[in-house]
Amino acid sequence: MYTIIVCGSLVPDPLQTLEPIAGPNGPALKNEMMLPSSLDPWAGHALYEAANLAAKHPGSKVWLVSLGPKAKLQQVMMTVAQKVPFELIALDGPAGGFTDAAETAAALAEAIGAIPGLDLANVLLFGGWESASRGAGATMQLVGERLGITEQFQGVDSLTIGTDGSLRILERVEGGKHQVSVCSAPPAVLGWATGNLPEPRNNPQVGMANMRGIMPALQKAKAAPVGTGDITFASVSLPKQTRATQVIKDQPPEQIAAELVAWIRG
C-alpha cells in the first residue's frame, strides 16, 4: 500500500503557435489563457505509472499536485480525470514555461507538506524527469530535497516492486542502457522518462468519480508565489523550426535515412 504523489501540470499544447511576449511580471506566452493545453506528457507518464502501481496494491492512493492557471487546470482535468483515479491538489499560478524551477519546487513541496495526515516516510514522489515547457530537469529533485527525501532516481523507465517490498528501478543512462538500482523501501523520488505504459483510454466513469473531488480542489486552489517578477530574464526565445514534407512510397529505409541526414546537414 503506497501513497503516491505525482507532481505534474499542464503545458500549452505543443502543436500550437507559441509566441513569447513581455508580460508585467516577465516573459509569458501570447494568449496563454486561450491556448489549448494538455497534461505535460512527462508528468502524464508519471501519473499513469502511479495509477498502475496503485491498482496493483489495493489501498494505495494517488495524489496529483498541479501548479497552473486555475481556469486552464479545470479544462485539462476534464480530460485527465477520465484516464485514471487520483485526488487533485491545485495551485493557481502560471504554466507557460517561464517560471523558475526552484520557485515551482518550493510551492509544490509546501503543498505536499500540507496534505493532512501525510506520512512522508511512506511516500513515493513521482513526476516528469523533464517537462514539455520547463526543460531544467531539476524540479523533482528540488521538491524531494525540500521534503527531505534523499533517495532520488531520474530518467526512470521502470519500477518493479520486489516480494520484500523493495523498489527495483531502471534509470536511463547513455547508450540506450539502463542503470539498475534497488531501494529497500519508500520514500523515494522518481522522475519518470517515458515509462512503459500506453496512455489510458478515456473512461467517463473514472472521470465522473474524479470530478467530485477535482471541482472542490480547484475552488480551494491557492495562489502560488511563482512568476511574480522576482527573477529577471535577460532574453527568451523558442527553438527554430524547419519543416519539409514529402509523401513517399516504396522507398527503402536506407534511402529515407540518407535523405534525412542530407536534409539535417542542409
Binding site: 500550437q16 486561450m34 489549448p36 479545470q74 479544462q75 483510454r201 467517463p204 466513469q205
Partner: protein, 615 residues
C-alpha cells in the same frame, strides 16, 4: 476486459460544444446557482444534488472548432452586455467592409458567357468603375450583408473563451475527447446518449482494451452536434424531417489563419467578401484580426457542378489573385481548417423537438444563407432553449415534445431569428439555375426582404455531380481522362490537381510559408491527430459501386486527403488525416439505394481531428 456497458444518470446531456451549446450552457449555468453559490435547481435524477448537466465534445479540446466568423453579434451581446472584444483573443470590431468582384486574371476560370461579357465590359470601363488589381469593389455593401458594428472572431478562441466562462461557474461539465456515438431511443423517446466504444478495430469489433461506451441517461438530450453530427443524422433518419424540408444545399468552407506580412496595410476589423474567382461559384472571405493576423478562405458549394472539385487548390489560386496577393505575399500560414456548412437554412430545419430531445445550432437549420451568418444565430437557438428549459424546470414540467414546443419552439418562432430565416428561405434558389441567376436572386431576395426570389428546386447533391467526361468536354478527351484517373489511382492521389493543371490552372509556386502543399497544411496548420482504439467513422457502404464510380468526388473533395483512391479504384479512408469536415457526407455521386435523399457513404461519430485552437 470490461464488457458490461456502464450507465450513468444525468439531468441534461448536451451533444457537442460549439456556439449553440455555448449559448445554451451560458444561459443555463447562470440560472443554476443562487447569488450565494448554492444550487438554485435540484437534480430530479439525483435528489439532493444540483442539476447534473453534462456536455460531451468529440474534439480533443473545446477550442478546435472551425469557422471564419464575422457576425453582427446581436445575440452574443444580449448574453454579454458588457462584452469587451479585447477579452477574446483575435476578436476585433468590424471597421470596414467591402464586396469585391474578382476578375479572372489567368483565363482558367470556367465563366459562363454572360459573365465573360460582363468581365469584358468591366475591363473596358475599368477607369470609371475603379477596377484595380483585377477586381472591382462594389460601391456599397447591401444592408442584408452589412456587419458594420459587429465582430470578427476566431471560432477556436471564442469557444475557448466561452468554455472558460461556463466552466468557471462550476455548474456544468464539458468533457472534450468524448464523442457521442448515438442517441438512446426508446419508444420514440430520446432517453440519453451512448458514448463511442473504445478499444475496437477499424470496423468496430472489440479488441485489446475494449471499453464499451457509457450510456448517459437523461430526461433531456440537447443535440448541438452541428451539420454533420452523428446524433443529428440519427434523429433525421429515425424521425424523418418535416414535410417539404430537405438537406440538399451544402458548402465546404476552408480557411487559413495567416500572419500578414509587415507590408500589409489592411487594418484590424477589415472584412472583404469576394465573388467571381477562382470559379464563379466560389465565394471568398478575408477578415483581419488584431496583431496583423487574418482569417481567409473560400466556400465551395454543392451546386458547383464540378466532379473534381477541391477546396484546397482553389483556395491557393484565390489567395494568389492579384487583389489579395498584394496583401498576402510574404505572409505565413498559422492555422488551417475546414468544415461543412448546412446551407438549406430554414428549409433544412429538422424536427426541433421530440420527447426527450431538442435540437439547436447549425444542425437545427439556423444558418442564414442570405446574411451569410451562422454563429450568432446558433448562439441564439441555444439561449432560447436554455430559457425554455429553465421555465420547464421551475414549473416542474417534463421535457416532452409538447412542453418543449410550447417553450423552446414558440420562443424561436417569435424571434428575429425566425423572421430573418423566412426572408432568407429562397435566397439561393436561383443558384440551381446558374451562378448569374443565383447572384441576381440573392440580391433580389435581400433587397425585397424576401418578397421576390428567382425560383429553383434544390436537388440532392449526388444528383448534381456530372460525368467528368461531360464536364471536361472540349478540354480533356475521354481517353485522357481515363488515363489520368488510372494513373492517379495507381499513385493513390486525387486527380483534381492533374485535371486543374490540364484545364489551364498554373502550378502553385510553393514557398514553404504560405503556399504549402496540402499535406503541409494538415501538419503545419491543422495539426491533425487521431487517438487509437476507435473505429473508422467514414464508411463506404457499397465499395464495389465506389470502385466503378466515375468521378470519385469523395476523394477530390476530401479536405484532409484522408480519402484516397486505391489501385482498384476503391476509396480508402485514413482516420489519422481526417479533420471531420464531413464533406464526404455530401460529396458522393451515387444515391443510397434505399433512400434517394442520402448517398453511399456513412459519416459516423468519430474522434480526433484538428488540433489548432485558432481557426
Amino acid at each position: 476486459m470490461p464488457t458490461d456497458r456502464p450507465t450513468m444518470d444525468a439531468d441534461i446531456v448536451c451533444v457537442g460544444f460549439g456556439p449553440a451549446a455555448g449559448g445554451f450552457l451560458t444561459k443555463l449555468a447562470g440560472a443554476l446557482l443562487n447569488p450565494d453559490g448554492s444550487p438554485a435547481l435540484e437534480s430530479p435524477s439525483m435528489p439532493g444534488m444540483p442539476l447534473q448537466v453534462m456536455c460531451y465534445e468529440r474534439a480533443d479540446d473545446i477550442g478546435f472548432g472551425v469557422s471564419g466568423i464575422v457576425t453582427n453579434a446581436k445575440s452574443l451581446r444580449e448574453s454579454f452586455p458588457d462584452l469587451d472584444p479585447a477579452q477574446i483573443p483575435m476578436a476585433a470590431p468590424v471597421t470596414e467592409e467591402k464586396i469585391l468582384y474578382l476578375l479572372d486574371p489567368g483565363g482558367a476560370s470556367r465563366r459562363p458567357l454572360s459573365m465573360r461579357a460582363a468581365d469584358t465590359a468591366i475591363r473596358a470601363l475599368g477607369g470609371v468603375l475603379g477596377v484595380q488589381h483585377e477586381a472591382m469593389e462594389l460601391p456599397w455593401t447591401p444592408s442584408f450583408l452589412n456587419k458594420h458594428g459587429g465582430l470578427i472572431l476566431s471560432m477556436g478562441q471564442f469557444t475557448q473563451w466561452v468554455g472558460s466562462q461556463v466552466m468557471a461557474t462550476g455548474a456544468v461539465q464539458i468533457w472534450p475527447g468524448s464523442p457521442v456515438g448515438e442517441a438512446i431511443i426508446e419508444d420514440q423517446t430520446v432517453a440519453g446518449v451512448r458514448l463511442l466504444d473504445q478499444g475496437v478495430t477499424k470496423d468496430g469489433q472489440p479488441a485489446d482494451g475494449f471499453m464499451p461506451g457509457m450510456d448517459v441517461r437523461a430526461p433531456l438530450t440537447v443535440v448541438a452536434d452541428g451539420p454533420v453530427g452523428a446524433v443529428g443524422q440519427q434523429l433525421d433518419a429515425h424521425f424523418g424531417v418535416p414535410a417539404g424540408h430537405h438537406l440538399h444545399d451544402w458548402a465546404l468552407g476552408m480557411k487559413f489563419v495567416v500572419d500578414l506580412p509587415e507590408s500589409c496595410e489592411l487594418a484590424a476589423g477589415t472584412v472583404l467578401h469576394t465573388i467571381g474567382y477562382p470559379e464563379p461559384e466560389i465565394f471568398g472571405f478575408l477578415y483581419v484580426h488584431p496583431d496583423r493576423v487574418a482569417s481567409l478562405g473560400i466556400f465551395v458549394p454543392s451546386w458547383f457542378d464540378n466532379p473534381a472539385r477541391t477546396a484546397y487548390r482553389y483556395l491557393q489560386h484565390w489567395m494568389m489573385h492579384p487583389y489579395l496577393w498584394r496583401h498576402l505575399k510574404g505572409g505565413r500560414l498559422r492555422s488551417w481548417g475546414a468544415k461543412s456548412l448546412q446551407e438549406s437554412g430554414r428549409r433544412g430545419e429538422p424536427h426541433l423537438t421530440g420527447d426527450g430531445f431538442a435540437r439547436i445550432g447549425e444542425g437545427s437549420g439556423s444558418t442564414n444563407v442570405l446574411t451569410n451568418s451562422g454563429v450568432d444565430e446558433a448562439w441564439a437557438t441555444g439561449v432560447q432553449l436554455a430559457e425554455a428549459v429553465i421555465e420547464l424546470l421551475k414549473a416542474g414540467k417534463p421535457f416532452t415534445k409538447d412542453n418543449l414546443d410550447a417553450t423552446y419552439v414558440t420562443r424561436r418562432r417569435a424571434s428575429w431569428l425566425e423572421a430573418e430565416a423566412r426572408i432568407a428561405e429562397k435566397a439561393r434558389d436561383g443558384f440551381q439555375r446558374g451562378v448569374v441567376p443565383g447572384l441576381i436572386g440573392t440580391m433580389l431576395t435581400g433587397l425585397t426582404k424576401g418578397m421576390f426570389a428567382i425560383p429553383g428546386r434544390p436537388s440532392p447533391p449526388h444528383a448534381r455531380v456530372p460525368d467528368p467526361a461531360d464536364y471536361y468536354e472540349g478540354r480533356i478527351s475521354k481517353q485522357e481522362l481515363a488515363a489520368i484517373r488510372k494513373d492517379c489511382d495507381t499513385k493513390g492521389i486525387a486527380a483534381s490537381g492533374v485535371l486543374m493543371d490540364r484545364a489551364g490552372w498554373p502550378a502553385i509556386p510553393f514557398d514553404g510559408e504560405l503556399l504549402v502543399s496540402h499535406q503541409d497544411a494538415l501538419l503545419m496548420g491543422g495539426k491533425v491527430q487521431a487517438p487509437a482504439g476507435y473505429a473508422d467513422h467514414v464508411v463506404f457502404l457499397y465499395p464495389n459501386d465506389c470502385e466503378a464510380c466515375g468521378s470519385k468526388i469523395c476523394v477530390e473533395m476530401c479536405s484532409g486527403q484522408a480519402i484516397t483512391p486505391s489501385e482498384s479504384g476503391r476509396p480508402v479512408f485514413d482516420r489519422e488525416k481526417c479533420i471531420h469536415c464531413g464533406a464526404c457526407l455530401w460529396n458522393c455521386a451515387q444515391a443510397h439505394p434505399n433512400n434517394p435523399e442520402l448517398a453511399r457513404v456513412n459519416f459516423r461519430a468519430g474522434t480526433g481531428g484538428l488540433h489548432s485552437g485558432e481557426n
